[in-house]
Symmetry: C2
Subunit: 152 residues, 2 copies
Amino acid sequence: MKVMVGGTFDPLHDGHKSLLGRSFEIAGSSGQVVIGLTTDSFASGKTHPIRPFASRKSELEEFIREKKFATPWIIEPLNDRFGSAIDADFDAIVVSEETLPVAVEINRHRREKGRRKVDIHQISCVLAEDGRWISSTRIYRGEIDVHGHVLR
Amino acid sequence: MKVMVGGTFDPLHDGHKSLLGRSFEIAGSSGQVVIGLTTDSFASGKTHPIRPFASRKSELEEFIREKKFATPWIIEPLNDRFGSAIDADFDAIVVSEETLPVAVEINRHRREKGRRKVDIHQISCVLAEDGRWISSTRIYRGEIDVHGHVLR
């Protein structure tokens, strides 16, 4: 099936890798994965500095190539929370527990526009060593590394 | 991946077929689908009469065989809302918009027991001709048929 997933992916941590891995798994080899990557101007709303779009895109591409996923994929710039997800023809959106509300909102907008709702696949978040979620904010603060190891 | 899905499936309508089809698609050919089928005593809480477990199971098996899904599958009796989903080792639970709260509850119980949460895949409900959900209750009332055609 055709799957959409989105994020800022900075840095690309084990939670992101699980989100992306699951997206490819669900799409299957005959499907497609569309990855929305936040633009610098949209991502600038975050509470910590973000690397430029091009760097984040390269890291993402490198991970996908290394994994040798069989499913075709593309990276699209995300200028807002929804990107093309309200108007595009696709089957499922993959989200974390944190971003589930965005998917619910996308379906509400799709229904208002007379489009069919899409499936929502919520992955279970990857936990750091301390039992809390891995997140970019925690990595930026120096609490954990990209694999969820506690640093202090 | 290993996927769990559950229901009463009486009668097996297009909404159920979409739920099951998606479960097999997500599981992939190297995965497994565990279908929880409500027992007669558990299903007796419904507002309308339910056919016996054996009849519902045959209809389910016939549908799966006709579809020639590549994924191994089993049918388990469901004696309560959770069945084996709180203790089993699996990856994702597939639910409709109606049964989403059960999946959220399952994850809460899993976490309490120190087990990892599972992914929750919520399919978009299949709509009847009149734009409302296909449901067994509506079919039983004679409002629509199993394909969602309006009968009166």
